[in-house]
Symmetry: C2
DNA sequence: TTGACATAACTATAAATATCGATATATCTC
DNA sequence: GAGATATATCGATATTTATAGTTATGTCAA
């Protein structure tokens, strides 16, 4: 997790919203049967929900991934994104340590 | 405290550093005797330490103030800035609530 | 192999941000 | 009041970000 990249990634309401949506897989359309066991969500579903172009969302997800906030996993033609809960928590810890007066 | 503005204000390493410096008044040159009781730091000291132009720092401090992370107080020709600890804490709480899975 | 599809990478443009120097404003001192 | 000082504001430019369209890449299915 990279603090600078993470803050930059979060400095956008749509990306924060996506991170929120990913808390609950069921806020998206059901996965295909063959992907039922996967936790992540494919780009197309996220795009649909966000209402922005495919390229924009792909770029957003790349930023979130580079920031270490989400994990991507390719399965066939699909890329599934899911939150990295540990990284998110440790980001919050780091921000708190940096901001809070000792 | 405004979440969007606060994140934007923190999305810059110098502004985060300033916020850190302000944790400890003694990391700056001593205040004038007539300002000894004040907790804040004047713009010129912050500028000196940051090594950026006066206008840039004045602008930075304005952003931090609008984000609600610092409090400014004018005394004569000087403006003293200090951290708003309560606002910082509640910002951290809000970010945590937004990011962390329930 | 040939399409069809999902996603990523590339290109382009508009908007936002970083940063400075210059100027304006307020205040202090004489 | 005139000049000095501290800060804010304005104007300009360079860089970064947002976003879309287009193209490339990889994979599936017939």
């Amino acid at each position: 997790m990279n603090m600078d990249k993470a803050i930059a990634a979060l400095n956008n309401p749509v990306r924060r919203r996506i991170l929120n949506w990913l808390k609950d897989r069921s806020s998206f359309p059901p996965a295909l049967p063959e992907h039922a066991e996967l936790e992540g969500v494919c780009v197309a579903y996220i795009q649909e929900k966000a209402g922005l172009s495919q390229s924009t969302i792909s770029n957003y997800m790349g930023l979130l991934r580079e920031a270490g906030l989400v994990i991507s996993e390719r399965h066939g033609q699909f890329t599934f994104y899911r939150r990295d809960e540990d990284a998110i928590r440790s980001f919050l810890d780091a921000v708190e340590r940096e901001l809070l007066k000792p």
